[in-house]
Amino acid sequence: MPAGNSDVYNIVQAKFLATEIVKTIHLNVSIVDGPSSNANRVLALVEYNSSHALFVLVSSRCPPVSFSDLSIETVVPIDQHFSCETEPVTEQNYVTLIIKYRQTKYEYNVEIGKESCNFAAELIRAKEVATDNKTNFTWLEKYFGTMNQSNRNSDPTMSDRSDFVIVRNEMAQAQTTNNRESRLKYQLKLRESEFTQIQEFTIFIGTWNVNGQPPSVSLKPWLSYDESPPDVYAIGFQEIDLSKEAFIFNDTPREAEWQKLVMDGLNPNAKYRLVALARLVGMQLAVMINNQHYPYVKNVSFDTVGTGLLGKMGNKGGVAVRLELHNTSLCFVNCHLAAHVDEYERRNQDYKDINARINFKRNPQAIKDHDQIYWLGDLNYRITDLSNTQVKTLLIRNEVNTLLKVDQLNQQRERGNVLLDYTEGDITFQPTYKFDLFTDVYDTSEKARPPAWTDRILWRGKGIHQVQYRSHMEMRISDHKPVSALFKSEISVIDPIRYRKVQEDLLKWMDKYDNEILPQVTVDETEVIFDLVKFREPQSKEIIIANTGLVPADFEFIKKHDEPFYCKEWLRILPYAASINPGEKCEIRFEVNLETDVENLEDILVLHLKGGKDIFITISGKCQKSCFTQSLSSLVRIQVPILNLTEDEWDQVRKNNTPVRYSVPRELWLLVDHLYRHGLKTRDLFESCALHEELIRIRNWLDYGSQDPIPGTPQAVAETLLLFLSYTKEPVIPFELQDICTAAANNFENCRQLILMKLNDIHRTVFIYICMFLQELLKYSKDNSYDAKTLASLFGDILLRDQIRNSKPQASRGKANFVYNFLVNDLSSSLLPR
């Protein structure tokens, strides 16, 4: 980064998020084919999360002083579709930077130097690292929304944006808040007649080719010809300075001198203020306005176009000023077109070039888009096919109309080659060119050019009425006579009260619209009620979300304040977030799987629409009790299947208000006893997966009770036993004791002490009961193939299970070692409660 740019660098960085790093910038960049004076673009290479993008920013001040001076014009992601080349411009001190993205091409002129070399190198480097086409550019989306509307519309390079997937996303989301201003402007324009009234303004247009003569005479005879003062003056000169200096450096003292004469020559019956002065070499255009109207002038801008030598030098061309007076946009163009009788086609071309290349910084940017256009100047069109003598003779005979028929401008206009749609008033004055200096005598020199109406004033637009069109013969210092035209022009003036009313109306309408384009959905059911939900017996219910709004709806279930997750642990939502297009529907499935002791399902879900409302969805359902998920201390207090208890009885049991009936839970005994009798010799007893239905049958058998034997194979019963022990409310070895147990695992006596001292009677009994069963199992290891280590690690994980379920089960050596002690040592009766 060149020194001195660091301030600007910080300003550019401020335009982006802190995580979006501006790697390098380039100032004073202009668009190719734009006015070269318009070097108000800033290029910035920005990196986010190792993806790069090129930003083109327009700076309202050069250099920018605050980030608000910058607006984003173009964003180009740097990926495999991006390319960058430089092309030298012949005999210029700048190069063209050609940026291509798919089929879109952007060209910028940058000054040759270290800055441009570095910048181009950085771009190419960024492209090199972007080979991975999975780079994520979603971070750019927000910037497409900020690009101002006028740029989107006017920049031809933006017209074909179909390649930009990102842009499409942005539009699909209907980010209308950003263009609220444009929408309102547009609507106001449509309803303009409701809040404006027409007021007539007098506009004086003057044009004079002064032939490089020094400004030495009063202009009053020309500018103050009419008694009543006009409201607006637009005065154009050509050839105010024919010196080489003026031509090469576009700088001349004549500008101020002539302008002073203009100001002095304005109608003395009113006071005027200069609105804008534009000059290119010898062409000068000044717009003045009566002081009283000055407050209603706004958005003034000017531009100049050279069409002279090499098609671009300023010896010929045009200068233009645009402004808005009240609610009407005015454009004044002063031109000096190519000379010589035969060059009318060149003149037509100059006219086209001026139209094409004048580009105001304010909207509208082109000449043609203004409400009223006044075109003046030395158009240089001559009289064809007649000799000097013939012209002069006709003039003496006052046959002006015969001459006007062979006037090139009239001919070319008739053929539609120039100033199409423009109007010119009737010419009643003598040709204004070419006179001998200081006389009213047409050219007596050797060349003896035939007289011609080179100096003309035309107009285009609604409500323009010309009242005068004349030349001023008494102005004799030039070989041209000045011409002036007086117009009564209809200017649309805003009635502030009515304007306000329409504006309020529109704002209301837009508010309504803003509400209408909020995402809207309907949900077919906001109450999802599950049938009786049973332990590990999943159920699901569906609801349908329909997008009834005008824009895509992005929904997501969001967590409630103070809750860790968007739904309870027994619920799954599929999908929990998605996007629905207008008119489309999305089915959402709620899946319940009960693995803990829950009395009733109750949850309120918040279905959030991005940028819109929230809908509450209530989930409810009754749960069936089960011996699974209960605490050992409750279970040992019941002698009957759990579902045979009344609510009251169960309530008492849960509160431990009833006596302990069994030393181990009835269900545990039933399972172990069954295995003791039927499973000791079963190979891989604990390792086969039973059918889900089989497990449910066994669960029901335990919970409801039955006279029938256990409905299941020994393997299914064994799996049920593992499930039972895995889902008790507390593990057999409670969480808080697990660390000291595993720490003591390498010493049986310590383990024994722990069991004896720390575990309560119920848990201790259950633990010893299971270990004794496992010891029994090991007696048949030849048949069932189990050894103590395997069983210890299997049951270690269950008896000392982790607090967080679903965490990937991993055999803990400590837990296994702890249990191992009790599988290989004699479990003396001293371990059992006395």
Binding site: S66, E181, L277, R362, D511, N515, L518
Partner: protein, 215 residues
């Protein structure tokens, strides 16, 4: 530079709270659409409305959250109070129970919003004078004792609806002007949106006139 006529300078967040069936959604609808919504279904969730208003020449965008009034949603709707600059607390003048619950709504509001949140009490359905169950005086006294702004309004006729929303905004704007409301506090419920420079407008932005002028 002041905001142009198209842009708003502030966003204020409002919540509307109160018992089920007092007419919260109808008030919102009347305010945003200028229409009475008959047979308005119960709000199951939080509806969202927006309108741009003007206070002291400033355009303000109101972002209004209309909450479900059902008791069973109370715990969930509490999370929407956060960051509200204005709270419209609504009861139904024809149903005393909705008035009796105000103190509980007020407690929630005080606990869950910040001290500068403007609370406006609205006695809705004042068009149903014949069925009145809560006198104006009584509610007015309650509002006074608790430092609340108060009107009786009708979402059906539109009476005082505009006023309630606008008065709340005025009060919030005053707090900003007085410096009582800290715009930088995350939960102030107000966002300031400085308008973008460089934009000119129909009302004659003179700053724009000179800058391209060579005079």
């Amino acid at each position: 530079m002041s905001a142009g006529p198209y842009n708003y300078s502030y966003i204020f967040k409002y919540i509307i709270i109160g018992d089920m069936g007092v007419g919260k959604s109808c008030l919102l609808h009347q305010f945003t659409e200028k229409k009475f919504m008959a047979d308005c279904p119960h709000t199951i969730g939080v509806e969202f409305g927006t309108r741009i208003i003007e206070v002291s020449g400033q355009k303000i965008k109101l972002q209004i959250w209309d909450t479900a009034g059902q008791e069973r949603f109370r715990a969930v709707t509490r999370s929407y109070y956060r960051g509200a600059a204005g709270a419209l607390m609504v009861y139904d003048i024809t149903r005393r129970s909705t008035y009796n619950h105000l103190s509980s709504w007020l407690t929630d509001t005080r606990n869950l919003t910040n001290p500068s949140t403007v609370i406006f009490l609205i006695g809705n359905k004042c068009d149903l004078e014949g069925q009145r169950d809560v006198t104006y005086e009584e509610a007015s006294k309650f509002a006074e004792e608790n430092g609340l702004l108060f009107v009786e309004a009708s979402a059906k006729t539109g009476d005082n609806v505009e006023e309630a929303f606008l008065e709340t905004a005025k009060k919030i704007y005053q707090s900003i002007q007085d410096g009582r409301l800290d715009l930088n506090a995350a939960e102030s419920g107000v966002q300031h949106k400085p308008s973008q420079p460089g934009r000119t407008n129909l009302n004659g932005d003179q700053a724009g006139v000179k800058d391209n002028c060579a005079c």
